[in-house]
């Protein structure tokens, strides 16, 4: 088998045993790797609903065919489980080098079940797996725990104090990168699993190594030449989004009551670069290097990304860049998700402002935030309530109309009332309020391209296409940022050109065509490697007959499989919605259209997806995608 080790381990922490998981070649061929292969394992493991913090729940850590191949931006790995925040499937993706090390250790994936009676780590080296005591690591922050786990040339991932205390949005940290969303760190903590280390010398066979090498050179050249992946992201990182988002009314501000922050210039990517940046830093195999190393409070630390600048900055009316950098650092050290943490605090601030919950949190006052990271991570005082996240706070205190979460997961920093496609993406994302799993259509709606964010026309079809493409790219093991290079350079470079403006204006009109093509992958039974390099890479690594059509079908299969796991966990079509603030409250009083018009898009979305009116994939859809037996 090309591109894979062909080996998955199942580690039972209750009994301290390890066995091989019988992954079939058909599973690799249908689900590739990453989040989709993990969803397949989770779907097959359970028969009914599973509680997140239970012995039954499993953690599935997966690599992908591109992992270890030297493809650009291919060092990512995935952690999937049932989320303690949403009760649904969560797939949390992370950069760094752990994925590469796990694959070199000889495994494509590991499955962790049960619960250890005492703190442990899992040590994986050249297909030898040992469960070791981690008593000496318990209570340590993530950087110290990683230091204590031995030499730097091994892949490491750990939880911090937040994971140990079952904070519902605790993260898993690897080097300086985070598998942040959905509380995978709390599931580690529940299982008394402090971390995992991996290394080895395993190599996988490649179907066509020479052609792959040539293709790789072209792909890296494409990424470096593109204005987004070769210029903007290396120059400013994701923080470079802040200014444009502010002008486009897309920057989550004051608990999503606005899309613009008066002080955005104090927290934007330009200020971060000019006043704090020391150097760029990225994952192994990455030519983009979007990560930042910044200097603040006399230390060199990881710089905040867009989401952190939004949720711990504008969303709290916090205009202090040094404060955001320090909060970002502390959240990584304690191991909590900056998005959910910031959003939960924003909600708590509004509850106080409205006289609903008497607490000390005030918009624009960042003085108490740093101590809140520790209190939340240790579940002390008010931190014990904040550790539950926005949804549970709203169930206790009220304020559901302005509790900004979807299916229990707090939304990202993109305010969707100025980007209808992003609104639909949030509402339908399998993870909940996730911009990337939601399809990230906002990249067309005024960020990377200039398609109108106000219109709902065509947005259902484009959202589906982007969701499926992101799903497939993620399953293949590629960073999603590589997909931005698919946007034709001339559309990005010349937005005022007459032809480009016509194309941007006409794109919504072609939604029907996009929807028509979606269910007919044979219409795209070809590769355009210079536009979308991922399918051709997969083909050269694995030997699978991968085309653009089949690639999107892989994504669609994964998206539907995740949906089926969620339905088994109790998800209903009525959960595909947004908080009332985003659906009913005008973002701008002078614009009667500044709400998310979800009703205009959701029915079309279901129809194109091949789901019934309750949002359940039909028998034909599941059969077409080979998710059920063809009887």
């Amino acid at each position: 088998m090309f591109g894979f080790n062909g080996k998955t381990a199942k580690i039972d922490l209750t009994h301290g045993t390890v066995e091989n998981y019988p992954m079939t070649e058909e599973s690799y061929a249908l689900y590739l790797g990453g989040k989709t292969l993990a969803a397949k394992i989770i779907y097959d493991t359970f028969n009914g609903k599973v509680e997140a913090l239970s012995r039954e729940n499993i953690l599935v850590i997966t690599t992908s065919p591109l992992t270890g191949s030297t493809s650009p931006c291919s060092s990512r790995f995935n952690i999937s489980t049932i989320s303690p925040l949403t009760g649904l499937l969560i797939s949390s993706n992370c950069g760094g080098s752990f994925g590469l090390h796990l694959k070199k250790a000889g495994y494509d994936a590991i499955i962790i079940s049960g619960k250890s009676p005492e703190p442990v780590i899992i040590d994986i080296e050249n297909q030898v797996i040992v469960v070791k005591s981690a008593k000496h690591l318990w209570g340590k922050n993530t950087s110290e725990a990683q230091d204590l786990l031995g030499p730097k040339n091994r892949g490491k991932l750990v939880i911090g104090i937040a994971g140990e205390h079952l904070v519902r949005y605790a993260a898993v940290i690897s080097e300086e990168r985070a598998a942040g969303r959905g509380g995978v760190g709390a599931v580690f903590g529940y299982k008394n699993l402090k971390g995992i280390i991996a290394s080895g010398q395993a190599t996988t066979e490649m179907f066509d190594k020479e052609a792959f090498k040539k293709h790789n050179v072209k792909w890296i050249r494409q990424l470096k030449a593109h204005p987004l992946t070769g210029k903007q992201l290396p120059m400013y990182g994701t923080a470079g989004l802040v200014s444009m988002m502010n002008y486009r009314n897309l920057l989550a501000t004051k608990n999503y009551s606005s899309g613009q922050f008066d002080d955005f210039e104090k927290i934007n990517g330009e200020t971060l670069a000019e006043e704090h940046l020391v150097k760029n830093k990225g994952c192994v195999t990455c030519p983009i290097q979007c990560g930042r190393q910044v200097k603040a409070f006399d230390k060199m630390v990881k710089g905040p990304e867009l989401e952190t600048l939004g949720l711990l900055g504008s969303n709290l009316l916090n205009n202090d860049m040094e404060s955001i950098i320090r909060l970002n650092h502390l959240c990584d050290e304690y191991g909590i998700d900056t998005i959910t943490f910031g959003s939960t605090i924003g909600f708590a601030m509004e509850l106080r402002e409205k006289g609903i919950w008497d607490n000390d949190l005030k918009f624009g006052d960042s003085t108490s935030l740093e101590i809140l990271v520790e209190k939340t991570s240790k579940r002390q005082g008010i931190g014990n309530e904040l550790a539950e996240g926005t949804k549970r706070l709203s169930e206790k205190y009220g304020g559901k109309d302005f509790a900004i979460h979807v299916k229990g997961l707090e939304a990202a920093a993109y305010e969707p009332r100025a980007a209808q496609g992003m609104g639909l993406g949030y509402a339908t994302s399998n993870r909940g309020g996730c911009h990337l799993n939601g399809g990230y259509l906002v990249v067309l709606e005024g960020l990377g391209l200039n398609v109108s964010g106000k219109t709902t026309r065509g947005k259902a079809a484009y959202t589906i296409m982007f969701q499926d493409m992101m799903e497939a790219a993620s399953s293949a093991g590629s960073c999603l940022f590589t997909t931005y290079a698919m946007l034709p350079s001339f559309l990005v470079k010349k937005p005022n050109n007459t032809v480009v403006r016509l194309i941007n204006g006409a794109m919504p009109l072609f939604g029907g065509l996009v929807g028509f093509v979606k269910n007919k992958p044979w219409l795209m039974h070809f590769n355009l490697a210079s536009v979308l390099p991922h399918p051709y890479s997969i083909r050269l690594i694995t030997g699978y007959k991968m085309t653009i059509g089949r690639f999107l079908e892989f994504g669609e299969r994964g998206y539907n499989l995740e949906r089926m796991v969620n339905i088994r966990q109790g998800l209903k079509g009525s959960d595909d919605t947004l908080p009332k603030r985003l659906l009913k409250e005008l973002q701008r009083s002078d614009d009667p259209n500044s709400i998310v018009k979800l009703d205009e898009m959701l029915g079309t979305y279901y129809k194109i997806r091949g789901w019934d009116k309750d949002g359940i994939p039909t028998h034909n859809t599941l059969k077409r995608l080979k998710l059920i037996e063809d009887k």
Binding site: Q232, Y236, G240, A273, L306, L447, R501
Partner: protein, 82 residues
């Protein structure tokens, strides 16, 4: 005087975050920028995204808009991320 603010890679290439000018049209302001900062690629500047007082301005007609005292012209390049 009105204010011009630069964001994104245009700001990096021009080397300053903002500047002030006396009343003139957008086209005249862009000409002045090119004259003062010859390192800027004229076509790139002409293709930038612009907002006047937070409102987007597009098309050729944007170039003839007269900027008055107290106005803000923001010049940005397109972006991506996650």
């Amino acid at each position: 005087m009105f204010e011009i603010k630069f964001f994104g890679w245009i700001r990096s290439e021009i080397g300053i975050p903002k500047l002030s000018m006396s009343e003139r049209t957008v086209m005249e302001a862009l000409d002045e920028i090119i004259k003062c900062y010859p390192q800027i690629d004229k076509s790139q500047l002409m293709q930038s995204i612009m907002f006047i007082n937070q409102k987007p301005v597009v098309g050729k007609q944007r170039l003839s808009i007269k900027l008055k005292a107290g106005d803000e012209l923001a010049i940005l390049s397109l972006v991506s991320g996650g």
